[in-house]
Every structure is written in structure tokens, then in C-alpha cells.
């Protein structure tokens, strides 16, 4: 187990109140596969935490457990205070929009399901759309939008209920690099303004280091937490940070931990699954 602490994290210091802790959490699927084993993870209010790891390390499973879409086989999740589903926002790997509904209706959906009328939801929906730079696209349907814009709608939809924690499952993996960088920047901006907690699943070292205050590296077979890195670089982070030597050094560190994590898996010479 590697514990590296580069410096104090300004974003979420140890004093920040605990939001959620996973204690000794395990998940075994009905087909006998152990997706997660003995995961301990403490998530603090305001963290931007990335789960970084190879495929099959259970990072998506962990996210689904946190979201309540799946229940742990062993161990427990302790939320500080009461948390219900409306406190959780989820962004999937694909935009996952309703193809027949326009942008407004897609973002309205979580509120609509809670019984908020169109007129009542309108100010919130429009504000969210402007936050993700989609003002003027309310009436477009998903197929008329680019991949990056669809993802923005998806983020707006996840944020429209003002969740305390935003769970993101490799949201930008399918986008081209230019779009991904842009969305990275915009996501950070949103996060700094609203100060919610993010758990971000990715298999990109560069993305996790750029975005996060904490990078948790996971290993596969069985899925487990392998190590953690605090990314102390101050926010706001921008293109200057992305090209700085400090960023490169942090990426190298994270990459080293990831390589160790991959090598720690027995018979790791073949990749994937």
C-alpha cells in the first residue's frame, strides 16, 4: 500500500467534514466474480476524487455502490447526515439523454420526476444550461448536438437538483482531446463555483491529475484500492497548469503508482478485463 502525500490539499483539507466513508466494502457478483474486495475510502466534503485504474479494477462498481444502484456484499457505506437520492448526481459514460426530448426537457427530467412543473423548473433549468454554456440550445434534440454538447447536457441534468455529490463514470472517454480539455476546464470551473463533491472514474492518468485533489489508484483481480496521491496544485487550474513541469511530474508519479497497481495483479501480462 502506497500512501504519498505531496502537500496539503487546498481544495479539501483534512479538516473538511467527512461526507462518506466506505468501510471494508466488498462486492461479489452472482457469477462468482469478486468485483471489489475490502475497499476503505473516505470522501470529504468538497473533494474532487478520481478513481484511477485499469479495466476490471471495480472503479465503476464502486461508483454504482455509492450511487445506490447496487448494494455491497460486505462492509458498509456511511454517509454523514442523511442523504437521499436527490443529493446524488450521476453522469454516465455515454450522454444517456432521452433522444425524443429536447435539451430543456432532458435537463428538466430529474425535477419533473420529483413533481416540479415546467414553469417552476424553468429558471433552474435555464441557469444550469447557461452554466454549461448551452444557452440558446433549449429546443435542440440530442441528435442535433455534437458529442461534447450532449455531455454538457448530461452534466447539466446531473447538476439541476443541486446534488451534494456528483458521480462521474468515465464521462469524457469517448470525446476527442480538444473537446475533453474544454470540458475538463468547464467542469473545474463549475466545481469551484458550487463546491460540491466529485467522484470521477477514469483510466486516464493525465485527466485524473489535472482535475483532482485526490487520485485513488485501484488494482484489479480482485478490485481494490492500491494507493493514493494528493494533488496539491492550487485551483483554478488552466492550460498553464496543463503544460507545466509540475503537472508532468505529478503525472509521472501517478503513472508509477498505476504501473505498480497493474503489476501487483497476478498474471498481469495480458491486458484488460
Amino acid at each position: 500500500m502506497i500512501q504519498e502525500k505531496v502537500a496539503e490539499t487546498p481544495a479539501a483539507s483534512d479538516e473538511a467534514p467527512m461526507l462518506l466513508s466506505l468501510r471494508n466494502v466488498g462486492k461479489v457478483f452472482s457469477n462468482g466474480v469478486t468485483a471489489l474486495s475490502k475497499v476503505d475510502l473516505a470522501i470529504r466534503e468538497g473533494d474532487f476524487l478520481s478513481l484511477l485504474g485499469p479495466s476490471g479494477c471495480g472503479k465503476s462498481t464502486a461508483l454504482r455502490l455509492i450511487a445506490g444502484l447496487s448494494t455491497p456484499t460486505s462492509g458498509q457505506l456511511d454517509w454523514r447526515g442523511s442523504i437521499d437520492r436527490s443529493n446524488i448526481g450521476f453522469v454516465f459514460q455515454e450522454p444517456t439523454l432521452l433522444p425524443w426530448a429536447n435539451v430543456f426537457d432532458n435537463v428538466w427530467l430529474p425535477l419533473r420526476l420529483k413533481g416540479v412543473s415546467r414553469a417552476k423548473a424553468a429558471p433552474t433549468v435555464m441557469e444550469m444550461l447557461s452554466r454549461v454554456h448551452l444557452t440558446g440550445f433549449e429546443n435542440a434534440v440530442p441528435r442535433e448536438l455534437s458529442g461534447g454538447m450532449k455531455m454538457r447536457v448530461s452534466i447539466a441534468r446531473a447538476m439541476v437538483t443541486k446534488p451534494r455529490i456528483l458521480l462521474m463514470d468515465e464521462p469524457f472517454a469517448a470525446l476527442d482531446e480538444i473537446t475533453r480539455f474544454k470540458l475538463n476546464n468547464d467542469l473545474l470551473e463549475l466545481w469551484q463555483d458550487e463546491r460540491f463533491t466529485v467522484v470521477f472514474v477514469t483510466h486516464s492518468v493525465f485527466e485524473s491529475v489535472f482535475l483532482s485533489s485526490r487520485v485513488v489508484v485501484m488494482a484489479a483481480r480482485p478490485g481494490r484500492v492500491f494507493g493514493e496521491l494528493a494533488i496539491s496544485a492550487p485551483y483554478p487550474r488552466d492550460e498553464v497548469f496543463r503544460t507545466s513541469p509540475g503537472y508532468a511530474a505529478l503525472c509521472r508519479q501517478a503513472s508509477d503508482v498505476l504501473v505498480d497497481a497493474i503489476n501487483s495483479t497476478a498474471g498481469s501480462h495480458h491486458d484488460g478485463r
Partner: protein, 283 residues
């Protein structure tokens, strides 16, 4: 520079050929079938004349048209009877098909238990079932309706069931995350997702309900109680009134085409903004 503008407008021979081809295809799509249709009718007329075929065997197209005009009152009132059965049975097929599909979608167990019954109803030829219906049901309209319904409801049921079950897994999770009730999930997710499938089934059912109505009338027509287009055809056949037979046949045919066109239009209008099937192909 103007020179640059000129060359930008000029297509290379390959592109020019393609553009020409596309233009031709656009025109040909309409002109060709029309021309062939006209040609066939002219040929039909010539064959009658050349071979001196008597009217009661094969009437000339002009005579059929004349009959359509002369017998308009009789034929169109019969058409109304057939149309009434067709639309009522289509309506019932939609209600029954969608209703059952929604019921099936509530639980895999319900679907597994009852789907075989729907298949049995579908694969047994309606003509063979009709004598039974004839015994159990007295009312003529109900008889015909039941018959046409049995023929028409299956494509709606099976397509809608398929649609309700083919919702994206992540979207289902999204609804679950937002605490959607069963009803909300049906209303806002599964029914809209099933729409393209339902409309596909509806297009098939539209034609089938007309076929069902005509077949039912044919079988029931032996008793001479009904007065739809099918019974006009039988009657005309008995009397060797071939022109009227043809006229009735043309009316049924046109009705079928009209139903298909209307349902295709409805489908296109509903799906045009979002579904792949309704989108224009882009080059």
C-alpha cells in the same frame, strides 16, 4: 478573385455525373411507377379489345371506371361499412395490443405466462377460427370486429412489447437514481422509447385490419347479412357482374394504400425529429 469562384462552382466530371444521377432518380421515383401503371392499364384495355373478351369475364378499364361512377352510391355505402369495421378493429387492436404489452412489461413472469396465448391466436388462421366465433357470438358487427381484431392486434402487441423492453440500461438507472415511480418510468421512458416499434406495428396492423375485415365479411357473407365491400364482391361474382367486382376490388385496394400512407405519415411526423428511421439520408 473571380477565377477562384468559377472553379469552386464547377464540379469535376465524377461529381457532376453523380449530381445528374441523383436528379434523375428523384424524378424517376415518381414518373417510372406512374408510367408503368398507365402502360399496364392501356395494355389491359388493348387485350380486352384485341381478344374480344366479353365484359363478364374481363371488363375494360373504362367500363370499370364507369361502373365505379354509376354504382357509386351502393359501393361507397358498402365501403363505409367495411371502413367502420376496419377502423374500429384497428382501434381495438391498438388498445388491446398496447394494453397487453404494458401489462407484459410490468413483469417478465406475466409475459412468459401469457405470450404463448397471443402466438396461438396469431398463427391459427382466422378463417379456421371463424366458425367458432360464429357459434358463440350473435351480433354481426361484434363477430366481424373480433375477427379483424385477432388478425390485427398481434403485430402491435409484439412490437410494443419489444419496444418497452429495449430501453437503454443507463437510462433505466437514471430513472432509478431519481426515484422515479413505476408509472413515471412507463410514462416518461418506456412508452416514448417504444414509440418507433409501436408505429412499425401499427403500419402492419393497419393493413391487417382491412384484410381481417374483408376476410371476416367473406366468411360471414354466406349468410347474406353483411353489406360491406366483400359481400358486394361475392354478390357480383354470383351475378357475373365483373365490372362491379373490379370496381369494388379497386376501392378496397385504394383503401389499403390510403391506410398505409396515412399511417406512414403519422409515423414520420412523430419520429422525424429524433429517430434514425425518419431521418433523411445525408451524403
Amino acid at each position: 478573385m473571380t477565377v477562384v469562384d468559377d472553379t469552386a462552382l464547377k464540379l469535376d466530371p465524377e461529381e457532376a455525373r453523380r449530381a445528374r444521377q441523383e436528379r434523375l432518380e428523384r424524378i424517376g421515383k415518381w414518373v417510372l411507377p406512374l408510367a408503368i401503371m398507365v402502360l399496364a392499364i392501356v395494355l389491359w384495355d388493348r387485350i380486352c379489345v384485341w381478344n374480344e373478351i366479353p365484359q363478364y369475364i374481363l371488363p375494360r378499364p373504362g367500363v370499370v371506371l364507369q361502373t365505379l361512377h354509376n354504382d357509386a352510391g351502393l359501393l361507397f355505402s358498402s365501403l363505409l361499412v367495411t371502413l367502420r369495421i376496419t377502423f374500429l378493429s384497428l382501434l381495438l387492436a391498438v388498445i388491446g395490443g398496447v394494453g397487453l404489452a404494458v401489462l407484459f412489461a410490468q413483469s417478465k413472469w406475466v409475459e412468459m405466462s401469457f405470450f404463448p396465448f397471443a402466438i396461438v391466436l396469431q398463427v391459427t388462421p382466422i378463417v379456421a377460427i371463424f366458425p367458432l366465433i360464429n357459434i358463440y357470438v350473435n351480433n354481426q358487427t361484434v363477430k366481424l370486429l373480433l375477427c379483424a381484431w385477432i388478425v390485427a392486434f398481434f403485430p402491435i402487441l409484439s412490437n410494443t412489447t419489444l419496444g418497452l423492453n429495449s430501453v437503454d440500461r443507463n437510462l433505466r438507472d437514471l430513472f432509478k437514481l431519481n426515484g422515479a415511480t413505476r408509472w413515471q418510468q412507463l410514462r416518461y421512458l418506456r412508452l416514448p422509447a417504444a414509440m418507433p416499434y409501436f408505429l412499425g406495428g401499427l403500419k402492419i396492423a393497419g393493413g391487417l385490419s382491412l384484410i381481417g375485415a374483408v376476410v371476416a365479411e367473406f366468411v360471414a357473407g354466406a349468410q347474406g347479412q353483411s353489406s360491406g365491400l366483400a359481400s358486394r364482391i361475392i354478390e357480383a361474382g354470383y351475378r357475373l357482374n365483373a365490372p362491379r367486382l373490379f370496381a369494388a376490388l379497386i376501392l378496397i385496394s385504394l383503401t389499403g394504400i390510403l391506410i398505409f400512407l396515412v399511417l406512414s405519415l403519422v409515423s414520420h411526423l412523430i419520429l422525424r425529429r429524433w429517430h434514425e428511421s425518419a431521418l433523411k439520408q445525408e451524403h
